[in-house]
């Protein structure tokens, strides 16, 4: 059974990874806890749900539109909620983020209601039998997508002009401005990418479990938050590691300790790891500029 539970945990973790990437990246570049992350990606997922079920739009188009919606909404949130507070204390932006999240969540509730709906599975939810083990295809497909995204994004940051400008903005905004980098646009772009990646993760999440409901947004933000911190926030490889470890710990906790307390146990694990290594497993301790 242990092996199957590990497989279950990795599968669950794969879903978490993609959601975490967007979240971690925003923090890594802009030092902001984007608590609206989950709710933004849920809007994308719900839009996809409506397109797929009510309007019968084909899968590819629905996903593209959903990702676009997520990206635009994320950029909008940045403009409206975060930009005016740039430079202020970090806690202030955290609070605005929570506020933005609430506004979005209530908006979602008005349009889609809070009930759970069946989300169509556009990636085959088949389960492979490998020996004695059940392996869910779609969840490992998600892991594959996550890895591709991480590698792609790392390359983008390193070699592409826009990627480099993002790194400049991450290092020092005033100097980046002096260098002629359009910092405002770059920041919006970072959020937009974060939102787009989040929606991608959400679409695969909903597709794996064939369910979509608003609560997945906030729950997802919490998972992304924990996984990102666990792996070292700001580090994309850390997001990968953190997501997988979180999934594993939940699965093992549910099977060997108590399913009712699975979340509590995963958070205890998070606390434990942070006590030993405060910057997360792969995080670098960034010293504060005075």
């Amino acid at each position: 059974m242990l092996l199957q539970q590990i497989v279950n945990g990795l599968a669950l973790g794969s879903i978490y990874v993609l959601i975490t990437i967007g979240y971690s990246m925003v923090y890594g570049i802009l030092q902001l806890m984007n608590f609206a992350h989950g709710d933004v990606y849920m809007v994308g997922a719900l839009v996809a749900f409506s397109l797929l079920t009510t309007y019968h739009v084909n899968v590819v188009a629905s996903c593209l539109i959903a990702v676009l919606v997520g990206a635009m909404l994320a950029a909008l949130v940045e403009r409206v909620a975060y930009r005016p507070l740039l430079g202020k204390d970090r806690t202030v932006s955290m609070i605005t983020a929570l506020g933005a999240a609430l506004v979005i969540r209530n908006g979602e509730e008005l349009v889609w209601g809070v009930a759970a709906h069946g989300f169509p599975s556009f990636v085959q939810t088949t389960t492979l039998q490998i020996g004695n083990l059940q392996v869910s295809v779609v969840q490992f497909f998600t892991l594959l997508v996550s890895v591709v995204v991480i590698i792609g994004f790392n390359l983008f940051l390193k070699y592409h002009k826009v990627g480099k400008s993002i790194r400049c903005v991450a290092q020092d905004i005033p100097v980046a401005k002096l260098m002629g980098i359009p910092t405002g646009k770059t920041i919006s772009l970072v959020y937009a990418i974060g939102g787009a990646l989040g929606v991608l993760g959400a679409l695969l999440y909903c597709s794996s479990y064939n369910v979509v409901f608003i609560g997945m947004g906030f729950a997802g933000t919490m998972k992304a938050f924990s996984a990102a911190i666990l792996g070292g926030i700001g580090n994309l490889n850390g997001a990968l590691l953190g997501g997988l470890i979180l999934g594993l710990s939940e699965s093992l906790a549910a099977s060997y300790i108590s399913s009712a307390y699975r979340d509590a146990i995963s958070f205890l694990l998070l606390i434990g790891i942070l006590l030993i290594k405060p910057s997360g497993l792969l995080g670098r301790h960034i010293s504060q500029k005075a």
């Binding site: 009930a115 549910a254 099977s255």
Partner: protein
């Protein structure tokens, strides 16, 4: 001196006036206002709307017949005021406080969720308002000595025993693994299911809880159950999770029979589980009112379809009966919301849609048997 004497006389007259007007409590109220307290939004909204609709049909039937038919309140009509507690005990408690403070409310019908009922009961008990719940099942509600709590639905004990009977006798399976919702509701049913299985020479291989409205991945639990060699799975929870669990069991390639508690034979379950996954799934349910030939039930069905343009769900009848027993209590002589509970206890064998109603000491009713449904050809049908 004259000034103060004048003031004293005015004060005295005021007091006398107040006492006299308070004493005239037997005045006919404008209407009997019943509060519909249940989730109208949120994961359990389906149950809340079922309740509201059942109540509205009952109120329409009563009012069309001229309101209360006998006693001091003869001719007074009923009214409904709708509250949304979202299934959240904190919200429900707020509503309960509101009802206590609002003298125009005669009684509460609901709440739907067991946790909300447990939160509301002490507030209503203290505030002198009676609760008649049409769907909360926790046994804890009626065994704590509350006088103003009544229930027209089954208790979790009845449900748990029925599920055990289905597994042991109808299906002939002994080794069960139980999944239950980590709430008063789920715990109540599970708390009766496990001993019932064991008393009937069955075996409960394991009991695992899940958090409703949050957990979407049940694979660790399913792996555990499979590994333990379960012959049958019991689910004590509502449709959001039961649908997902059934789907995940089937996609893991496991055909094991699944027995589910009442409240799950809804379209939502089909949507979440996927119709193709609902084989070998056994839904316990209240008697299906769609099939009944009882003239009262037929009349209820027709009225419901006329009013809402859809067939009544099986759970709407319990809300209907809740309103009707309140009417019965008033006709027996109840003249204020404060004494409603005394008169409800005087009811003997009132013929409700759900069967003969007499409330026991705790406030529960002896219910007719739970029926068993399976899913065939896109709908729930009686299992033969």
């Amino acid at each position: 001196m004259k000034q103060s004497i004048r003031l004293m006389i005015i004060g005295l007259l005021l007091v006398v006036f107040l006492v006299v007007s308070a004493g005239c409590g037997g005045k006919k109220p404008e209407s009997i206002k019943l509060a519909s307290v249940s989730p109208k939004t949120g994961p359990w909204a389906t149950y809340g709307h079922d309740q509201r609709k059942g109540m509205e049909v009952a109120i329409e039937v009563i009012n069309e017949a001229g309101g209360i038919s006998q006693g001091p309140f003869k001719g007074v009509k009923f009214e409904i005021e709708v509250f949304d507690d979202r299934g959240d005990p904190k919200e429900s408690a707020n509503i309960a406080q509101k009802l206590v403070a609002d003298e125009s409310i005669f009684a509460m019908v609901g709440p739907t969720n067991s946790s909300c009922a447990l939160a509301d009961a002490p507030i209503l008990e203290k505030g002198g308002v009676t609760m008649v719940t049409d769907l909360a099942t926790t046994p804890e509600l009626t065994n704590q000595g509350y006088e103003r709590v009544f229930r027209t639905y089954f208790t979790g004990i009845t449900e748990g025993k029925a599920m055990a009977m289905v597994a042991l006798e109808t299906l002939g399976l002994k080794r069960m693994y139980v999944f239950y919702e980590n709430t008063d509701y789920g715990a109540g049913i599970q708390g009766a299911l496990v001993p019932a299985m064991e008393d009937g020479a069955g075996e409960v291989l394991g009991v695992d809880a899940y958090t409703p409205g949050q957990d979407t991945d049940f694979s660790p639990l399913i792996t555990k159950a499979r590994n333990a060699g379960a012959e049958v799975i019991g689910i004590c929870g509502s449709y959001n999770e039961s649908g997902l669990i059934i789907r995940q069991v089937r996609t893991a390639g496991w055909d094991v029979p699944i027995v589910i508690c009442t409240g799950n034979n809804h379209p939502n379950t089909i949507e979440l589980a996927g119709a193709e996954n609902l084989y070998n799934a056994y839904f316990t349910s209240p008697p299906v009112i769609g099939d009944s030939t009882d003239p009262n039930v037929v009349a209820f069905r027709e009225k419901f379809e006329e009013k809402f343009g859809e067939k009544p769900g099986d759970y709407t009848a319990y809300a209907y009966d809740a309103v009707m027993v309140i009417k019965e209590a008033i006709e027996l002589g109840c003249q204020s919301r404060d004494e409603l509970h005394t008169y409800l206890r005087k009811i003997e064998n009132y013929q409700g849609l759900t069967g003969p109603i007499t409330f026991d000491e705790g406030g529960d009713v002896m219910q007719p048997g739970i029926v068993l449904l399976a899913f065939e050809n896109g709908e729930y049908v009686l299992y033969e």
